[in-house]
Amino acid sequence: MYYQVNPESIIFLRTDFVCGFSTIAYDWTSDDIFFIKPTEYRILKFISDNQPVKIDSLMDLLDNDGDKQTLKTMLKTFTQKKILFSYE
């Protein structure tokens, strides 16, 4: 599975450090704005900088199984909210 960010849902700024590398994203399925934690920011930024990104490359960023499971959940949620696009 490959992932890329939806540029209409998230924007990365040079000033993101001011808020500790957190940001907000737009959920096009519900028209809600929601908070992106620094851990999620790191993943989304990695995808944005290297897209399209294969899921294996994302898994390689993490050491333990718990984190990998959290990542899978995150990818699923963000894909549902159309913050990420995915394809085989």
């Binding site: 924007i11 990365f12 001011v18 907000i24």
Partner: protein, 541 residues
């Protein structure tokens, strides 16, 4: 009489002369300040509504702490701080953006003005005026941000809650930086302790009364006070507070109404409210203006605030207030935002991202695509213009603060200063504690607390059923004017709009411009027309 400020500095050696020649009129509130010692000069306006700050010893405060502490307080100010030894100038505007402070460097001088028109005219004598693309594109999409940009590239402004620094040795702008401590505000909010909306409402009224009283106590005796009154909630509540604080005749209520604006402002409800609380009332019918019946080309003055919406909706009322000698006007502005503060935190912290999403939502939801060629749609959604913006967060919603700026200028142009008690951060913090039923959105707070104010406002209501109608009236009653603007379109020559397509659309009586009861189409086209007209009239390209 106007409140416009003008300061022109040609050399670090003539700061004293520059200050002597500067224009800093007495505006009543905030107080005019001029303090100096051997090394520093502080000039401008300052009033705090908190006990910890006083305008008496302000120079010491600024010398020791800079503008940081006063920025993160309930103080209104525009201050110029000269460091004579270092030949530096720092300029700061409060977090409520209660002043506009434009500046430009040209012809070996740095010029500051609180009004856009005069500085634009002065710059035009020296050079051709060029458009600032980010500002233009944002305004076409109704996106208002707390920014250092203006419609003209070479004219900048000090954003709210920020400090701009200038090196006077080389007459050079160094930087602009935010002084806002957003975390401190949100950390200061106590966890919700209210168990009933009734108790919350009682405390809200108590706090609002205190906040209004603090403002009243600072107004010079000879300044005539007015207060907006409507059949809505916010300004009417402020006027009730004033009626409890000031003796009869200490202020007057002012109310404008239009027959096409639905039932937002019922003159009869306003009359009965004023009688009940013994408030002298003056009412003003501006139906003619909302119908756009005047010859706009003659009446939209190019030196007034950029947005002619101000002319249609506010200028006649501003003139009416001026004829009645009003210098300080209390308003209910920020009322809606205050009740909705629980939804504002993310926007306070991430203003640029919000502007970006707002633009996309506008492009998609308002179906603007067909008015804009493909090339300009790319410009609108280009991430780069957002990435280049500075980080200038505000606690009060940036969109509201920036949106009100043309109003501040228009009122200031007639020597009237607006006071907005609902923007006080103590009110904003309290609104966070409203005990809303589970699942109820914060933007319904006002509606839920209104029953507890029935004894004060027995008949008032929120409805604003027809607020978009005046936008449509422009295209009905000023068709020739609109077509004239489109025939000479600057935006068209820049490839941002397709004037031919828009003209055909306006000519078609079956188009959704005339049939959409939400007025979204008229609201999309309105800024296109007024910005294009403004660019043409001022030869900005």
């Amino acid at each position: 009489m106007n409140n416009n400020i003008w300061l022109e500095i040609k050399s670090p050696k003539n700061i004293i002369a520059a200050i002597q020649n500067a224009i800093f009129p007495e505006i009543g509130l905030p107080h005019k300040i001029e303090q100096s010692n051997e090394d520093f000069i502080l000039i401008g306006y300052f009033t705090s509504f908190e006990d910890r700050f006083s305008h008496i010893n302000l120079l010491n405060e600024v010398k020791k702490w800079g503008f940081k502490r006063i920025t993160n307080s309930n103080s209104l100010f525009l201050l110029f701080f000269f460091d004579k030894r270092k030949q530096k100038l720092q300029v700061s505007v409060d977090q409520f953006l209660s002043f506009s402070c434009y500046f430009s460097i040209f012809d070996n001088k740095v010029v500051f003005s609180s009004a856009f028109g005069p500085i634009k005219n002065e710059l035009r004598k020296a050079q051709a005026l060029r458009i600032d693309a980010d500002f233009l594109l944002s305004h076409l999409l109704w996106e208002w941000s707390n920014t250092d940009h203006t419609l003209i590239e070479r004219i900048k402004m000090v954003p709210g809650g920020c400090q701009a620094t200038f090196d006077l040795k080389d007459l050079r702008f160094e930087n602009v930086q935010t002084l806002m401590d957003i975390n401190a505000f949100y950390d200061s909010i106590r966890p919700g302790t209210y168990t009933s909306l009734e108790q919350f409402s009682t405390d809200l009224l108590g706090l609002l009364t205190e906040v209004v009283e603090r403002r009243v106590s600072q107004i010079p005796k000879n300044f005539k006070i007015g207060c907006d009154i409507s059949s809505g909630f916010d300004c009417t509540l402020v006027s009730y507070c004033l009626s409890r604080i000031l003796p009869h005749g200490g202020f007057s209520g002012f109310s404008d109404h239009s027959k096409i604006m639905g039932d937002e402002n019922s003159p009869e409800v306003v009359k009965r409210f004023s009688l009940k609380h013994n408030i002298p009332l003056k009412q003003f019918d501006y139906t003619e203006h909302t119908l756009h019946l005047n010859d706009l080309d003659q009446n939209w003055l190019v030196d007034q605030a950029v947005n002619p919406f101000v002319y249609v909706h506010h200028q006649p009322y501003i003139n009416f207030l001026n004829e009645n000698g009003i210098r300080i006007l209390f308003t209910g502005e920020y009322g809606d935002e205050a009740y909705d503060m629980k939804n504002m935190e993310l926007f306070s912290r991430f203003p640029v991202q919000r502007g970006y999403f707002d633009s996309f939502v506008t492009l998609k939801r308002r179906k603007k695509e067909d008015f804009f060629p493909k090339s300009s749609q790319t410009l609108f959604s280009d991430q780069q213009r957002f990435k280049e913006r500075g980080y200038y967060p505000l606690i009060v919603p940036s969109a509201s603060a920036s949106c009100y700026l043309p109003l501040i200028e228009a009122y200031g142009d007639r020597g009237i200063n607006q006071i907005n008690p609902f923007s006080d951060t103590r009110i904003l913090a309290l609104s966070h504690q409203a005990p809303l039923p589970i699942g109820v959105e914060p933007d319904r707070t006002k509606e839920l607390i209104m029953p507890y104010f029935k004894s004060i406002m027995p008949e008032n209501y929120i409805s604003i059923s027809n607020a978009g109608e005046p936008f449509l009236q422009l295209f009905i009653n000023q068709k020739l004017f609109v077509k004239e603007v489109l025939s000479k379109s600057v935006l068209g020559s820049m490839g941002i709009i397709d004037p031919g397509l828009i003209t055909r659309y306006i000519n078609d009586p079956k188009s959704d411009l005339y049939n959409d009861k939400t007025y979204q189409r008229a609201m999309q086209l309105y800024p296109i027309i007024y910005l294009d007209w403004y660019l043409q009239k001022n030869n900005i390209g």
